[in-house]
Structure formats: C-alpha cells, structure tokens
C-alpha cells in the first residue's frame, strides 16, 4: 500500500538503510494503540507499560477502531500499515467491552505481517506512583523471571512467555554493564488447577484444550534489585517492589502460522571465526589445535592390508635372498620382520 520511498539525499538514504534487516536485530519498537473504548484502567496500564518500554515505544494519541481478532475488519491491514510506517514490530491494543473488560492485546509482527497475538484482561493493577520506592533508570535492560512449570508445558503460556520476552528483552547483546542491571520483571502464574494437570492434551483432539475459566491467572511484578555484600564474589540480592504490578487473566489468542515461524526462527550461518572459537554444533571429527587452525580427521574404515597395492621392489623378491646370505643374522632378522609385518612396514624400512 505504501509507495516505496526513493531517497533524495544522503540523510534520507541513511534513515532508510537503518530500517533494512540486519543479522543481529535491534530492540523491537512497540506501538500503544487505544481502541474505540479504552477506559481509565487500560489507559493507565498502557502508560505504565510504556514507561517500562521507553525509549522504544510509540503511543498513538487518537482512538482507532481496531479489532485484531476480527479477520473481517481491516485491522490486520491497519496493523501492517502502522508497522511499516513507524518501523515497529510490536503492538499493544487496549480495548474495553462489556464482554471483555480492560483488555490488552499484544501483537507481534514478522516481515510486516502479523505473527501471533495474545489477549489478556487486566483484573487489578497498581501503578508506579503508588509504590513510594526508587525506580530504575528508563532504557536499561530488565532481567526477566518466569515462575511456573506451565511456561514449559502449556502452549498458551509458552506463547505468553515468548511474547513478553520479545516485548521486554528482545535484543541480543554480547556484553552488559553489571551495575546497570537495576530491575527485574517477574511473571508468575497462579497454582495450576488439577484439571490442567491431569488432562493429557492428546486424549480428545477434537475438544478445545482448556476452557478459558480454567487457565490460571498471571501476576506481573516489577522489582528493583539491590546487591549486598556477602563475603563471596557473588552478592546477595534483595528486591524492593517498584513499578507496575498487574494481575492478568488469559483471554483469546492467535497462534503463529507454522510457515512464518519457520522463517522467523532462521538464524544467520555461523561464521568460520565462530566455529573456530567453539560455537555451533560440536562435530566429532573437527577440532581446533593450539595454533588456532581448524583440523579435521578423515576416518577411513578398516583396511585389508594384505590386498594393499604397493610399489614393487624387485630387490625384495624371494630370488634375491641367495646373495645376502653371507651378511649375518642381523640381516636375517630384519628380513624376518619385513615378512611378518605387512608390506607397509617393508616400505617404512626403506
């Protein structure tokens, strides 16, 4: 829908080149959009999330008629257009209805198309202003903590973990300043109800896996970390609550299309320097020696040395033994060795 912009000067060209795909990606920018009816709760929660996400957050000022789960409405097109225009790959859509009060929808994009969506409802929240404690510096990377075995087993919660990780901690860094680790965002589930535990997912494939009332609530808390001396090199961690605390209930979701996920999970090929450093799959026949060179071993199967084709030495033929008889026992021994060992040893002696 957008016309491709052709850069007219060096500055616009630089801006366009900054938006091109890179091997190691930047942090995902999130757009906070309000639906037709948002309400005070949703507005405030979005403000809190934006404070945690700054500076990679954009807030739209006007209300937009956007219904992400309604395929018939042009919402997907709107999302794609906004994503393209603002170079953003995450959305938080806030909407309140009678049926779904205080709803937040997290949308993740890949390649300008919607990858997956997750809708949660805010049951209760406490803003940063209510905690009279020091806050962390905006822009610092948060530590993430997920507590519950459901984050490994249940597909809805696996998706929630993935979306929240993309939202808060998406970018890959290779070194981090230790004093800069100031806050931790902790996502905990309520205790797993027995219905979820006992039911095996494959028992009744036609049934919907879990009715919405059975999924446990999710608690999101933010704490600032204080490091105390402990006598060892590792400090003792003490937490003080800061920032928003939300209690969420899981609502609708849209899982990602398998083809798109395959494309999205592609990793760049490991460069030769990384393989030499020891990353990548350890191949049994490759090793890096002391000089730093990559060496490989070729394993040849067991060879039948009797059938080996060697150089034919005329002097070693049996007929010639007659001339060497007067030399002595030493020579005979050598000849014996030659006969016992394979023709290979004969060659080595030469």
């Amino acid at each position: 829908m957008l016309r491709t912009v052709k850069p007219k000067n060096a500055r616009s060209k630089r801006a366009l080149d900054a938006r091109l795909p890179k091997e190691i990606e930047d942090t995902r920018t999130a757009i906070f959009v309000k639906g037709t009816h948002s309400g005070e709760v949703v507005n405030n929660v979005m403000k809190e999330l934006m404070a945690l996400k700054r500076p990679h957050a954009i807030a739209f000022n006007k209300k937009n008629a956007i219904y992400p789960f309604d395929a018939a409405s042009g919402s997907t097109d709107s999302l794609e257009f906004w994503s393209n225009k603002n170079d953003a790959s995450m959305f938080v859509v806030g909407q309140t209805t009678k049926k779904r009060p205080h709803g937040l929808t997290f949308v993740r994009m890949f390649d300008g198309k919607v990858l997956d969506m997750m809708e949660v409802g805010v049951e209760s929240w406490k803003g940063m202003a209510e905690f009279k404690t020091p806050k962390s510096t905006p822009g610092h990377k948060p530590l993430m903590h997920f507590a519950s075995e459901l984050f490994d087993t249940h597909p809805r919660f696996i998706q929630l973990k993935s979306i929240l990780m993309s939202f808060f901690n998406g970018e890959e860094v290779d070194s981090i300043c230790l004093p800069g680790l100031e806050h931790i965002i902790s996502v905990t589930c309520a205790p797993t109800p027995t219905s979820l535990n006992s039911a095996t997912p494959n028992m009744y494939p036609n049934q919907t896996p879990s009715a919405p009332e059975e999924l446990p609530k999710v608690h999101v808390r933010t704490y600032t970390c204080k490091l105390l001396a402990s006598g060892t090199r590792i400090p003792r961690v003490e937490l003080t609550p800061m920032g928003p605390s939300l209690d969420l209930v899981m609502r609708r979701h849209q899982p990602a299309d398998l083809e798109l996920v395959k494309q999205a999970m592609k990793r760049p090929k490991l460069k030769k320097t990384d393989v030499e450093k020891g990353l990548g799959k350890r191949k049994k026949n490759l090793e890096v020696d002391e000089m730093g060179d990559l060496r490989g071993r070729v394993h040849v199967g067991k060879q039948d040395l009797g059938k080996l084709q060697t150089r034919k030495m005329k002097g070693l033929k049996s007929g010639f033994d007659v001339e060497d008889q007067e030399v002595g026992s030493g020579e005979e021994e050598e000849e014996e060795e030659r006969e016992d060992g394979g023709p290979k040893k004969r060659r080595k002696a030469e």
Binding site: E23, L228, G231, R236, A264
Partner: protein, 313 residues
C-alpha cells in the same frame, strides 16, 4: 589451628547466596532470563500473595546474578562489563534474514591482496592554512583549483585555456566514472552483469541447436561447462491419426503462418524497419500527401530531364 569456628561465624554474618529448589532454576544468562519450573506452592500463595511472589522473584534473581557474576568481565568506564554467552532461548526475528550481498569487483581484489579498508574523515589538516578543512562538500579542498582566483597556466597552453573549466570537468568526470562503476556493481549483484548476460545468450543458443537436431541433442559432442539436459525427447505423432486431427493440424499451421503473433519466425516485415514511412511522407510533402509528392517528383523529373537535355544541346 582450628579455623572452622571462625569460618562459621563469618558465614553467619552474611546471608546465603545459593538457592536450593526442587527443580534447579533454568538460567539463560545470554538473554538475562531465569525460569523457575517448580509448581507454585498453593499454601504460601494463598497465605500471602505478594510476599510469596517476591520471595520467588528474589530466588530467581539470586540465581541469575550468581551466574552473571561468574562470567568473564572486562573493565570499562561505567563498571565491569560481563561477556554474555549466546542466548539459549530463541525468539522469532522481527525482519527476515538479510540476503548476503555478493562482493563487488574491488572487494574481491582487496580481500585477495589483503588490503584493509581505511576510513577517512571529512576534515583534513591543511599545513598551509594551519586549520582543518573539508576534503569535500562546502569549501572542500577538492574544489580548490576551481575556486582559487589565480592559477599557473602551463607553458604551451592554448590561448583560451580555462583552468576553472578544466578542473571542474575533471572532477565531474571522476564522479561520473564512480557512478558508472557503482551501476555496474549493482547490475552484477542483481545477476545482470555482462558476463551473465553472455552466458545466458550462449545457453539459449545451445538449447536452440539441441532442439534443431533430430535426436534433441542427445548424441552431440558435449562442451565443457555445458549443463546436462534431462528428459528432452523427440515427440513422434502416432502413425494413424484420425482425419479430423490431421485437418485441424493443417488448418492451425496455416493460420499460424499468417497470423502476426510473435511466435511465428519470419523475416522482419516492412513496417518493422526503423523508418516510419507515413511520417516521412507527411514531412517531405509538407502535409500534402504521398500523391502530391509523386506528382511533384514526376513533373520535376520530366522538366529537369527536358531542361537538362535542352541545356546540353
């Protein structure tokens, strides 16, 4: 000397830094994430929610910091920088992987010779003026010859030797050459370089020759680098075909021969020549038309011949 007592008192002073859980916490230092896979304890959860959540988070944070502080560090201005390992938890990308660009002609040469790329700054130190001047751009040093008000003229120069014009033309020629080389690089990267075009032409010709032989090129001598063609066989129509099929085939052939479609191969038609005859006639006759031209030329020829003939006598 028994130091166990001193050690015990020392340990008691500080709180523990280890975390003991049923299932050990999964720490992913590369993505600064810790996952606690133990099921939530219902009693502590129901007793005091916030405290329970905070204690869970504290344990997780402790485990994460323990692993972070054991990583190798580099000193920096803001504090120790921990070298993070590559992350274990894979997240989907936001944009597809970039396609690797083929290296340009210069890049291939430079990597073969071992030439490193030297990044030059925009400003350069000018010894004469004793200040930093731009290499290019506004008041750039590359325009010095054009801008300066006095120039030495070479000995045997032309009378109208314009040093400013000469310098400007040289600069523009350099820019144009760079642009041309950049276009060639882009074409080569897109697969449209002259070598690739020539290769494609050759392959097309070879394919045509293959089809031109009765055995579809199966028994021709193979050249080096020629691609193996599979599954091309000569098609024989069945010996006994119904009369309607033969009639249809012949009629179709005749109509194809007479049609103007691109698929029929013939000599270029007169209207495909370079000259637009209609426009030429209109121009030559000054709008009057072809018949007027013919009249004119016939009359002129007649008069000219007659005149010349009379003139000669």
């Amino acid at each position: 000397m028994d130091v166990s007592g001193i050690l015990a008192s020392h340990a008691a002073k500080y709180k523990s830094v280890t975390v003991e859980k049923e299932t050990p916490l999964e720490v992913d230092a590369g993505s600064l994430m810790v996952t606690d896979l133990n099921p939530i304890d219902e009693e502590s959860y129901n007793a005091n929610l916030e405290e329970h959540l905070q204690s869970l988070a504290r344990d997780g944070a402790q485990a994460l910091f323990a692993s972070l502080f054991t990583l190798p560090t580099r000193p920096s201005a803001d504090g120790p920088l921990a070298q993070l390992p590559p992350p274990t938890y894979q997240l989907p990308r936001a944009k597809p992987l970039p396609k690797p660009k083929p290296p340009t002609k210069w890049e291939v040469f430079a990597s073969a010779k071992g030439i490193q790329k030297k990044v030059r700054d925009k400003k350069e130190w000018d010894e004469e003026k004793q200040e930093w001047v731009n290499r290019w751009g506004r008041d750039g040093k590359n325009k010095q010859l054009e801008d300066q008000w006095i120039t030495e003229v070479p000995l045997h120069a032309d009378v109208d030797f314009d040093p400013r014009k000469v310098a400007r033309d040289e600069r523009k020629a350099r820019v144009a050459k760079n642009e041309k080389q950049r276009d060639q690089n882009l074409a080569r990267a897109a697969g449209k370089g002259p070598r690739e075009e020539r290769k494609r032409d050759i392959e097309k010709t070879l394919a045509t020759t293959r089809i031109s032989t009765a055995s579809m090129g199966k028994f021709d001598k193979k050249l080096d680098g020629e691609k193996k063609v599979r599954g091309v066989k000569r098609k024989f129509d069945p010996t006994e075909a119904p009369i309607d099929h033969e009639k249809e085939a012949s009629l179709a052939l005749i109509s194809r021969m007479e049609s103007d479609s691109k698929k029929t191969r013939r000599e270029p038609q007169p209207e495909e020549s370079v000259l637009n005859v209609r426009k030429a006639v209109r121009f030559a006759s000054k709008g009057r038309g072809g018949i007027a031209l013919g009249r004119e030329s016939a009359g002129g020829r007649g008069r000219g011949r007659g005149g010349r003939g009379r003139g000669k006598r």
